[in-house]
Amino acid sequence: MMHFLEQPFGWSNFFVFLLLGIVMLLIVLGFVTYAIYFERKVIGWMQFRIGPNRTGPLGLLQSVADVTKLLIKEDTIPRKAERQLFILAPVITFIPSFAAIAVLPFASNLFFADLDVGILYYVALSGISTIGIVLGGWASNNKYALLGGMRSAAQMISYEVPLVISVVGIVMMTGTLNLRLIVEGQAGGFWHWNFIPQIIGFVVFVIAGISELNRTPFDLPEAESELVAGYHVEYSGFRFAFFMLAEYVYVFAIASLTTVLFLGGWQSPLPVLDFIPGIILVPAQIFVHRLFLLLAARDAAAHPDRPAHGSRLAGAAAARDRQHFRQRDFNGIGGWGRMKGIMKGLGVTFKAMTAKKVTYAYPDVPLEMPDRFRGIQHFEPDKCIVCNMCAKICPTECITLTGKPNPDPEKKGKVIDTYDINFEICILCDLCTEVCPTEAIVMTNNFELSTYSRDELFKDMKWLTDNNENVRKENNSAAPKGGAKANA
Amino acid sequence: MSITPYLTLAAILFCIGLYGALSKKNAIIVLLSIELMLNAVNLNLIAFAKYGPKPGLAGQIFSLFNITVAAAEVAVGIAILINLYRNRGTTDVTDMDTMKR
């Protein structure tokens, strides 16, 4: 990369840069997609759910589908909103977020800009994003959005101070603001990494970073329980997607920045592992860090703000925690309390991760219904004596049946000819099976009847005969009738 | 490139700022105009630091100080403004005349 940066700027360079920029954009988009997926999975785990599992294998395409949906959704602008600013705000938020990535070095020879003021550049740009958030909140002409925007700005500005100050130690140690040189200063094993001499800075940076991202223990700006969703309540479609994207791009940026500043960037943790190319190490570290960021941040979700979402376990703990969180949050202090909350939340997640899920992967794994469940009927023509009892007792008169003389002339009576149940009106009251003397009609545990046409709800004898799975084992008619008789 | 275009730009910005500071009635806009004037000064300082008679870093350092003071000034200014708004219910500079009465 260095030789590209040192060349005079010309058309060929321009295209190389454009291409690299597009590649980076795609990488970031992919990252954002799977960050969302991952986050939803984690929230699922901590709430004993499965999380996205329908679109694509393991639900891997869920976020892709969501993004597609967002992009083709109608783009609404409230009539009383401040139109120009409303349109401008997501752009102001997104552009700096993507521009900030430019300074992050990914390997000793892979970086997009070699700025002497790398850290300053990042901080300056992330400050501009905040303007977009405030403006979005203001331009929506909505009280919740305005409150969310103001809170977000107040929080982002106030935590930017500790974020920057926590880095000052490193800048003084390395004597440069250049991110590439900072990483190069950490070569030679993890004991040279900055997080050891700068452990306080590291902790402060991580906390301030979470708060800078408005992630959960610090999600006052979008506190769903009180502000609906914060500054982007009025946004929909691709404008909302831009806000979302900016938020996750910052997650990426902060995670990479932590890696670069404190965790040795592309330097391998042990000299023995030097053979691993740095280009693998950085993403690996970013991933690990992000894992923490997400687990920690989202977990605390169950704690302070959203007990309703969380599992009952987390909810109970939250009720207690919430009070002291509330009192402190607005003062902008209480880092230790938050850390404790985060740790507790992590505990909940790890415990719940392996626990049995309360959700079913429904159509793939059929639901176990209790045996007395009243599902749709199964009919056995051979048993039916055409006594007409079922049709008579049916309260909604949905059974129609006809008999014909027994084809075997030696036998008396009739055999069933047609037997239809109109499931449009059947109330599954179980009376027909109750009354049938021969158990020709019995209930099953199946219940899926949904079709695209009402006509298909009219089931004939063949269908009912074929509906022979999950037949209720013990039919009421077979059991002794009436409790009193059994007791006697 | 000589220093003249930079000085001219600074002069333009300074004059616009001056006009805004003296003609606007909204206190926030007056503050903004003052910021614009300070920025014009900063531009001069930095331009002189590169193309002035004695190129050096002193100009940049001065502009850093300038920016710091400006930040402090805005913080205090906005605080006073908010307080004034609370007490008097106005942000109009022509209404801030209790000392005159």
Partner: protein
Amino acid sequence: MLDRLIGFLSSGENLVFFVFSLVAICGAIFMISLTRVVHMVMALALTFLSLGGIYITLGAEFVGWVQVLIYAGAITILMIFGIMMTRHRGEAETEPQRPWHNGLLLVGAIVLFGILFYVIQNATITPQSAPVDPKDNTLQIGQLLFNQYVIPFEIMSVLLTVAFIGAIVVAKREED
């Protein structure tokens, strides 16, 4: 005239300067002429940003990004905060009821600019040494700040502390 302009714009640095200064002047003029306060602040944020760009082309990388951080970021947001904390009747700046005052001011500002322009055009400023190498002047700024300018630097930090505590005290409600 036109060839001179084209000649001026053919160099990369000049082109960048031209674009940035155009944006800066436009932002400043919009700041004066727009009617809604938030729009004014945004226009000025544009000016601040482009001034940051000009600083960077002048080789003052550090100051340029500090400008973006402090002006375009922090001060703009503070201003927006100020606007949101105070209600603005009808949100619009009322028409100036003092046409004489404003007219005179306009004339005065233009005359001031004329004088400045005259002086700038007539001044001969010749650098006595070559411009300093912009490469890594961040390091040099740091060293200068902590050696030659350490006393102003310390005073500045005291000033900042005083200002921020003062701002908090002033803006705090009486009740709490």
